[in-house]
Homo-oligomer: 367 residues x 2
């Protein structure tokens, strides 16, 4: 069933909202109290276009939490289980944010953007309030703010060609590296990153007006590349196994249960919240984890987690899913008890009570 | 311009979502990562109906942050500027949540629901993460959780009659009091409160199944009262001067600037974050504050704060507004510098560059 979104100042617009509405955005979601486009011509058509061309994404909703000051490194390390002790000021770190029980409460990219300044490019929870609370409680010497940064992502196989036409030497930027590049005499921080598997860049736009000029320049210089406005795409992100906090993961999960073990450090030299709990879980092994599901269905729409059963046994829940034209079936991401995980085997699952022929698989999906 | 909302598990459904969609909800907003209905038959018709009848509101998005444990009272007091030192376990306290600079970060109703248990019925920011951060940082002995409580509000002049048909002795419940009442052998906490000026109740439903029975019972017993599903109404709330965090107020404001001085305590016996900053501002006087605006316009739609000028001078910003059929003009809520506040005087304002005949007034509005 489709419904309208009721707009108000509380669901913040972005500097690009006017542009994307002129270009015909179809639906929005809300992300960090901000409008985030969800489709332009339907998610299947958007996905096809993304895989073959280049898109400009208004992902302003990926807000930056800036932690600045003498204790910035200490606080940033304290709230993530990833080892940041050797963090470089030109690398992006995918870093789960954890609480004192080792539960995940966000999964930002973290960048050390200055000697005493860190940016957390966050998923959809108020990390700013969490960081503030800890800083207040521990009396840390930091300032925590949300700078006026509105990310413009350039995604898709032709993003490299398009960006090269605008930014000098951008082709030398390596994956998950960031650097400042000039446009109209303004230095924009640009990372080779983005929430798709098609390659691309994220431009951390900290100047609204020049940012709009940049938007228009990219649209006009990309005309022959079939550039279009776009947005994070449900189909493409599930096919690629890109996790979505609040959908696939929530505050009752640990990073280990979400398959993020490689971002959980047990380096004895660092200290972070929930480390003991995660060490214990790591030693004992997780009792449930995220898996992929290939479901023999023509369509599916998930608006809440659906219970998964084998016979009478509850084995977990399906948290996100979509029909994938490329795979010819529905793909889902599910939290499933490890004792019920039998990979690459055809079996009948009960999805919200309905029998569905299924294959459980690792993430990301392989064809 | 109208757009669809893209649903996903991240924008959580409520136990009543199926019902309100069957009854024809028209638009949603998102509140605390949850779907909150915004209109059923258009906000003017919804407003008229609310003022004359009774409505059932799915306001599950008003999540409860539960703070429980030996240090619960200490932590709860620490984060609000309202004096809770004498809090009774049957009263609701409207209580701004503040940070260490005295800025407002939420404006919940707070209830002491048990000897060591407090509920904060929150507006749209992750107070749970803020409280958790402080508790972790100060090593407080508390558990902070979001219980499965989904508020069903019964609002409108006929709400008293309807509720009396279902709950014994509910007519004895005084304004901003709460008490537990029986329905199908389950005790529901009910407060005489709600985000309208038409009177009513909020039922803190902590049992999904009996909650749905209650929903259906209220709908069926209210048939002759013209009961309908409804929701917080933009027109009615602006007319009544009910403030909306994220719209009229944001994290750059203090409670004093928002006209919430009566909820800011300077009792020397209590301690809370930002108290010194608020005392200073109280002594010096605020430099800006919220006012009402009557605007000679037939319609207005606010999707972001609009700049307000008198001639060349920027005097503030318009944060929320709507056309009010009862007032026969548009009503707005604006943050305006005190030096430019001249109440009850006709003047021409520039609203986002457009000349508009206006009258500035105190909140709430008087006809």
């Amino acid at each position: 069933m489709t419904h309208l979104i009721a707009k108000s100042a509380r669901l913040r617009s972005t500097p690009y909202t006017k542009r994307i509405e002129e270009y015909g955005v179809q639906s929005y979601t809300v992300y960090n109290h901000m409008l985030l486009p969800a489709s332009f011509k339907g998610i299947e058509e958007d996905s096809r276009h993304l895989k073959n061309n280049v898109q400009l994404w208004d992902v302003s909703g990926e807000r930056q939490v800036q932690i600045h000051g003498p204790d910035a490194a200490k606080l940033t390390q304290l709230i993530t289980c990833r080892d940041l002790s050797e963090a470089k000021d030109y690398l992006c770190y995918y870093a789960p944010i954890v609480d004192n029980n080792g539960k995940i409460i966000n999964d930002p990219l973290i960048m050390k953007v200055g000697e005493k300044t860190w940016w957390l490019s966050i998923a959809d929870t108020d990390v700013l309030l969490y960081a503030k609370g800890i800083a207040i409680g521990m009396n840390l010497d930091v300032e925590i703010t949300e700078p006026n940064v509105n990310i413009l992502a350039v995604q898709g196989p032709k993003s490299f060609e398009l960006m090269s036409r605008v930014f000098k030497d951008i082709d030398k930027l390596k994956f998950f590296n960031f650097k400042r590049f000039d446009f109209q005499n303004h230095k924009f921080l640009i990372a080779r990153s983005g929430w798709s598997k098609q390659g691309g860049f994220e431009i951390y736009v900290d100047h609204d007006e020049i940012g709009l000029n940049l938007y228009d320049t990219l649209m006009s210089k990309g005309e022959d590349l079939n550039v279009r406005p776009g947005c994070p795409n449900l189909i493409e992100r599930i096919e690629g196994g890109l996790l979505s906090f609040g959908n696939d993961m929530n505050m009752n999960d640990t990073p280990l249960e979400c398959g993020l073990g490689s971002f959980v450090s047990f380096n004895p030299k660092i200290d972070y919240l929930g480390k003991a709990e995660l060490e214990k879980q790591h030693k004992e092994g997780v009792k449930r984890s995220l898996v992929g599901l290939k479901l023999k269905l023509d369509k599916i729409e998930i608006t809440k987690a659906l219970p998964l059963k084998i016979g009478a046994d509850i084995i977990g829940e399906l948290r996100a899913a979509c029909f994938s034209p490329d795979f010819g079936c529905c793909l889902g991401i599910a939290m499933v008890q490890t004792q019920y995980q039998s990979l690459e085997k055809k079996q009948t699952l009960l999805v919200d009570g309905e029998e569905v022929e299924s294959v459980m698989t690792n993430l990301p999906f392989n064809k």
